[in-house]
Symmetry: C2
Subunit: 298 residues, 2 copies
């Protein structure tokens, strides 16, 4: 079957299988401790676009693997991403009351259960990724841990109120958001049983779109409205967060995001040629995925 | 080299290699974010007896594997155990101020960093266990997640103040403590490249000593003093925790622990014979390890 050549068609093909796998991975809400399992379902469903799982499936397709085989690890990336949202929202951290238009986990279930719900999702993420093998687990752990996402969150909290500085903002974004987006593509590539090859270009592709994605997110906090965002806009500025717009202004931020997408499109052309012999070229799909990361501007 | 035949000799042989591996796994405190890495070192060193890593190395030896090869995964079990202590101590959970005789992580580094320190240790645990393979990661995740340790902590918090009930106490102990002790033996067995065999007896051995260990811990909270415990005694009773002594009294609790050790010793004899062809029999060592779990009574 030829791959769709737009990211939205690819998403339409794979979002439901990702949902189905997530439902299968989460323990049923009638098994003990029921309240914990309820909280896990509450934060996982309904979800967002499931961007990270879709990127994992793209990474899998890019190496000629079978996306069907990568569904579990792809779902694991969403579990891990969601744990990070649950913990970031806690009173001791960003103290957010709304997420995707609904009360945050600790608002509904209390702080103790929210901490434990995040812990359980993080743990389940590794269970879901395990079938992709030791290297995939290692890649994910490195991206998610103190030298990756958790490190980025620590730096983000420490930078609150500090004078915005581009180098610091880039470090925070690359770690807090970029590392997991990059890892999504790599875990997918390792999960699908595709060809073993140098994944450097895929890693750089992930790094570019990860950074572009976070810049877009920063800009949306300035320009968006509550209905589209599912949370109050302007919170970054109110909390004096280190963001791109705060460091270099809105217009230069948009330019930087588009430059990153441009570089990602170049890499997409190269990566797309990997599978030229067997499948339809994936280049148009990967280029469209890169553009998608900033399409939330419009 | 013949194995030592007492658990304390086995510990003397392997504690320093476990410490060395832990030091190698933790990012240096001068790498960013330095304060997070400092916090991770603070909670890991100095440590306790490193019981879970030692049990992992025992599990490895029991299947004829090379403990040297299991050191990374063994260290991973201590990282995971320590994350659970850091999160359990948080104000939203048990709100403890002392751990191993020192101020708890959130007392020194604040609540946000303590949550993130735990998250980073949990993540690093999976990185450390990854080389043992997909099945070891799966076993650990199941033992640590919502159907294991995290589930036990949820049930423990929910049971505070409730009428003590033996079935509930057993459920909590098996999940909160027992699951990880059992997993330590199994991960070790999977990590060392030993013979593939039915690990059922090793799992039951782990379950028995895990339960005995937790009963001993409950009893110590009643009979111990602050200097030996490194924390204030009597806290379980003050918090109306679900414990063995609260459910069935101190004397019946001690009897239950000794019965479990007795069963573990039987299993130790069986497991020890696995390696009879190659190595010295491990039975005396495993039997002594079982007795060790309750030796903290004296």
């Amino acid at each position: 079957m030829p791959q769709p050549d737009t990211f939205s068609a690819f998403a339409a093909r794979w979002q439901e299988p990702v949902e189905a796998r997530l439902r299968r991975l989460l323990p049923p809400t009638d098994t003990p401790p029921a309240r914990l399992h309820e909280a896990m379902h509450y934060v996982m469903f309904p979800g967002g676009k499931r961007l990270r799982p879709l990127l994992a499936l793209l990474g899998c397709a890019a190496t000629g693997g079978d996306p069907e085989r990568a569904l579990g690890p792809a779902a694991g990336l969403e579990l891990l991403h969601t744990y990070s949202l649950v913990h970031d929202d806690l009173p001791a951290m960003d103290d957010d009351e709304l997420r995707r238009g609904r009360p945050t986990c600790h608002k509904v279930y209390g702080e103790a259960l929210a901490i434990l719900c995040g812990d359980a999702l993080l743990t389940l993420a590794f269970e879901a990724v395990a079938p992709a093998g030791a290297e995939a687990v290692r890649v994910l752990a490195e991206a998610a841990g103190s030298r990756g996402m958790v490190g980025g969150q620590v730096a983000d909290l420490a930078a609150e109120g500090a004078e915005p500085d581009l180098a610091a903002v880039e470090w925070i974004h690359d770690h807090k958001t970029g590392a997991l987006i990059r890892a999504s593509l790599l875990v997918g590539a390792l999960a699908g049983g595709g060809a073993t090859r140098d994944l450097g270009p895929l890693a750089e592709f992930g790094q570019c779109i990860g950074r572009a994605f976070q810049i877009a997110d920063d800009c949306l906090d300035v320009t968006g409205n509550q209905q589209d965002l599912g949370k109050r806009p302007g919170q970054d500025e109110a909390a004096r967060k280190s963001t791109y717009p705060a460091a270099i202004g809105l217009s230069a931020s948009l330019q930087a995001a588009h430059a990153l997408v441009g570089r990602a499109e170049e890499l997409a052309t190269e990566i797309g040629s990997w599978t030229a012999g067997g499948l339809e070229s994936l280049s148009p799909l990967l280029r469209d995925a890169a553009r998608f990361t900033v399409s939330r501007f419009s």
